[in-house]
């Protein structure tokens, strides 16, 4: 069994244990059963931050070494970041609807900044698709991948910087305000989703590498007659 299959199996087992732990936590005194949504909402947000951190590292790695592998890792990580940001937004909206009575508030710093981050990284993926030359694509997306990361600490600290609707962090350096089994289940959920992120990126990075090789082989076989038009710009 190679590393990719081992990571995938470990991630699936950890996700199942995380689900079991979350199901066994007691209802909250104020939120009731709705508190269980944090066991999917918080890990989704965490993996999104982690993935955008991966894009930052991959982007910096490409700019320093010019090795295509870093560019492919940055792209794979950004795809996952967008995917998990969407899940985080969706579960946050469900939780907001049932606890606050509204699914969305543009005045809330956390919601608005997360939505902005989601669209900026969607733009990152669009930029990659819009640039045909692999070197231009890697350079442009590496710069955006580094600049866009500024949003991650802003999103995280938005609840501290601006006191709006979203609650402040439940876990700080001084401890946690959460009930112990709920905290344990949430921390295990973070671990399980981190494993899933590792499995995702190993598969997706490998696929992007193979796709690039296949595209290069196709271009070699087809010759220059089918090169995409450059609209008068440099090739």
């Amino acid at each position: 069994m190679n590393l990719r299959y081992a990571l995938t199996a470990a991630a699936l087992v950890a996700l199942a244990i995380g689900f079991w732990l979350a199901a066994g936590t007691p209802p909250d005194a104020v939120q009731g059963e709705y508190v269980r949504i944090i066991h999917v909402h918080v890990p989704s947000s965490w993996v999104a931050f982690l993935a955008f951190g991966g894009t930052l590292l991959g982007s910096a790695g490409w700019l320093i070494t010019k090795r295509a592998r870093f560019d492919h890792y940055a792209a794979a990580s950004a795809e996952l970041g967008v995917f998990f940001t969407a899940l985080s937004l969706l579960t946050g909206m469900i939780w907001g609807y049932v606890t606050w009575g509204i699914a969305w508030d543009w005045g809330d710093a956390r919601m608005s900044s997360t939505a902005l981050m989601f669209f900026v990284y969607l733009g990152y993926l669009a930029l990659r698709r819009a640039t045909l030359n692999p070197v231009d694509r890697a350079r442009r997306s590496a710069i955006l991948g580094i600049v866009a990361f500024v949003q991650v600490p802003l999103v995280y600290f938005s609840v501290v910087l601006f006191r709006t609707l979203h609650q402040t962090p439940s876990i700080t350096t001084e401890g946690s305000t959460m009930e112990s089994s709920t905290l344990r289940a949430m921390l295990f959920g973070l671990f399980a989703f981190t494993l899933a992120y590792a499995a995702f990126t190993t598969w997706r990075t490998r696929q992007l590498i193979i796709e690039a090789e296949l595209t290069a082989t196709d271009a070699e076989h087809a010759g220059s007659a089918v090169t995409a038009p450059t609209l008068g710009g440099r090739p």
Binding site: Y34, V40, T91, I94, V98, R206
Partner: protein, 38 residues
């Protein structure tokens, strides 16, 4: 309403996460076949 909202959140997150992971594994097999045909 309580259970629906909670279960829906779990189905969405676990369903999409596991579904996406499995689709990547399946896609790898297809891609390997494609590369092997060259």
């Amino acid at each position: 309403m309580t259970e629906t909202a909670v279960w829906f959140s779990y189905v969405v997150v676990y369903g999409f996460t596991i579904g996406y992971l499995v689709s990547l594994v399946r896609r790898d097999r297809v891609q390997r076949d494609r590369a092997g045909d060259r």
